[in-house]
């Protein structure tokens, strides 16, 4: 491999990583506990690399530290949805809702996830009810 070529490759890779980082913001609102933030980042990196099964472990570790953190429960719901575990996705999103307090955006997203999970399981009516709840949160 020529030196020039590897430089280009390096730059391209760096740009790609930077791009990914843009899509995956290390959201400041996850937690003020840096251990939880680190675990969340690790889970998101696994997800970005398509390692869905691997992402579960750091999320569960984070939940052991902050079991009342609705963002972590929601992240687990999203992951379960991606993995096709629809019943668990709904369970996790519902659990996230119970800790969401007045965070309407979070609630709306949870209801949307519940709706999608129900849709995938063939429950159209239940899904619509959930999507209505999501819309209600937005108002």
């Amino acid at each position: 491999m020529s030196k020039q070529y590897s430089t280009v490759l390096f730059l391209a890779t760096a740009a790609m990583i930077a791009g990914c980082a843009g899509f995956l913001p290390s959201t400041p609102e996850v937690s003020d506990n840096s251990a939880v933030v680190a675990l969340m980042d690790s889970a998101r990196a696994d997800i970005a690399n398509g390692k869905l099964d691997a992402a579960v472990a750091p999320l569960e570790r984070a939940l052991r530290i902050e079991p009342r953190n609705p963002v972590l429960w929601q992240e687990l719901a999203k992951l379960r949805l991606q993995q096709g575990q629809y019943q668990q996705a709904e369970g996790m999103a519902t659990r996230s809702n119970s800790w969401a307090g007045t965070n309407k955006a979070l609630r709306a997203e949870n209801w949307r996830l519940i709706g999608e999970a129900r849709l995938k399981r063939g429950d159209r009516q239940g899904a619509q009810a959930a999507f209505d709840m999501a819309a209600e949160q937005a108002n």
Binding site: A35, A38, E60, R64, I65, P67, Q87
Partner: protein
Amino acid sequence: MDRALFEKFRNFVTRKRVRFTLLSLALLLSGFALYLDITVRAQFEGKRWAMPARVYARPLELYPGMKLRPEQLTMELAMLDYHVAADPQDPGSYRRRGDEFTMVTRPFTFWDEAQATLPLQADFDGGHLSTLTNRATGKPVTLARLDPVPIGGIYPAHNEDRVLVKFDEIPPHLVKGLVAIEDRQFYAHHGFSARGTARALVSILSGGGVQGGSTLTQQLVKNFFLTPERTLRRKFTEVMMSMLLELHYSKDEILEAYANEIYLGQDGNRAIHGLGLASHFYFDRPLSRLDLPQAALLVGLVKGPSYYDPRRHPARALARRNLVLQEMRKIDFVTQAQYVVARASPLGVAEKAPEGTSPYPAFIELVHRQLRRDYREEDLRSEGLQIFTTLDPLVQTSAERALTSRLTQLEKDRRIPPKALEGAVVVSHSQNGEVQALVGGRDTRFEGFNRALDAARPVGSLMKPVIYLTALEQPDSYTLATLLDDSPLVWRERGTSDWEPQNYDKEFHGQIPLRIALANSNNVSTARLGLALGVRRIMDNARRLGVERDLNAYASSLLGADSLSPLEVTQMYQTFASGGFLVPLRAIREVLMADGQPLQRYPLSVEQVIEPGPAYLVTHGLQAVVREGTADALKKYLSPDLHLAGKTGTTNDLRDSWFAGYTGDRLAVVWIGRDDNQPVNMTGAGGAMTVWGEMMARLDPDPLVPPTPENIEWSWIDSATGLRADGNCQGAVELPFIRGSAPMETAPCAAHSPARSLKNWFERLFE
């Protein structure tokens, strides 16, 4: 025939016979060798692959801000056998100075990642870890794990229990010691030592029988098959087999087999074979955690486990150990400094041979049962799986100590014969269902009857919250303020005798608010409520909460005539503790193959089985039990500011004493009773609750602040009438209601009381 011809013929025949004989001999020999080869390999392979599953506690996660007291870290490090050092440099060493810890963690491969050894500085501020720093880089560490405490294995069921170890688990100084004492040429020879064998031959030929001269390989072969006979033929077979072994296997493999085979002592009629089991038997710790002098003692025992028995002949054992150390020093296997320290150290033998090889047999049994759903028994006992569990040794220790100390005290206080009382404790994480501790009886190392799993006892009043839940799920009919009828009740049912429930105080209380009936555990009003709702429906609700056992639907079932084990009760209360979500109790997190490859995870799972509103109201009711009801004496152990929720349980004739309760972070269930089912003469509050309180007090519980569901609103209620009041109504309480279910009617006191006018006057003043 002339003579010459005859001679020729005879020579020919003789030569042929010799040739034939030689050929047959060679054939016979190679046949024999082949036979030996097959036998020795079968034997070796059979032993080599039987590796039991190894079980670990949860690893302690360290991060700044975590709730942990310095003494808890000290305890964890002690359980991990980290040794104290003035200047910790080696993995597995630490130093504590007040609130400051310096330690070097051991490297460990976890499920999700391998963590290299870390030099850490951990500083505490009261009950919290305040800062965590990497001493090598000076940089802050956001999260680090200690290696997990090994808590046992799943071993072959037959008599000859072993703690099989892999070669890399054997401490290097132990290997060196064995080589130094038993077979210095081990790494050079081909299975036998020519000089040793020659010496043995001379000894046999001179009529002395075979003596000594055995390499480690030969010793292994002897242990595998042979009876202790001393003949030439036997010596020959042994040498052959040793050579064959060396042909097929590496030195490390042979040493591993040797380490698992060697006879090292006797415990009654149980033979102690293998270094792994011997390490538990003599030192009560896993082999990998032996220090140099302990390793040297084990090496010394090989020569004569009975003669050098360190428990019966400590002086002989000490001399033998020091001889081993001296030999190791001679060939420079240890430094002079190591030698001096090791020589001066005590034998370090556990006073009594521990029962079994796990400090937590009751928890291991739970793990084993959960594993059996997914794995074949022989795989668990032979594939060398690594099982990572949820056990928190710090919680387990608190539970064990609280149970044993309280039982002893209760026996003294109540003049119960010593050791008559038994008990069980289960502790779980209130949100994710991980079982953190499980105590199966007061003899915590006993591997027999596991009361936490197998003692199904009538649950008494622990069933009541299910009745109240069923009621509160109908907000149009029942709220926390609803008045219940606590007047005498006789229930007649075909096929059963009349049922006349009594209150504990043997009185009837007329009309009492629902939440007070729960707080005071009134039997009569609760029974009336249950009968009105329907017994079958309530028992079905218990199953919805997570009870898997079939329950009766007799009227007496309402007051807990049905039996559940402490673990089953924990599963039922888990659903209350997690706000209406069924969270299956889990004792296992991950299973890895022997080589560290991930095999299976047991993930967190949640399912909403109860609406958040009623679940919230039940928890509010259970908080009233602790604040002002049958569990109010819990304040002796824990601050009322923690707003804990709990329920006492007492059964007929005071045979069982129960308490189930939860904090912000843990759920625990305690049972006390007698194995012969005789009365213990104590209520749930008098017995089990005190264990719960003492245990939780050691664990710095988080306050219980359940999230308020969207559809919950608060109203002031006049207790006496159950009608709406305001804050100044005497005896008024503010209660949560599912939206729209609070009474509309106003109590007389609220509208006309002077207090009300005064309040109105103030309110006008500030408007």
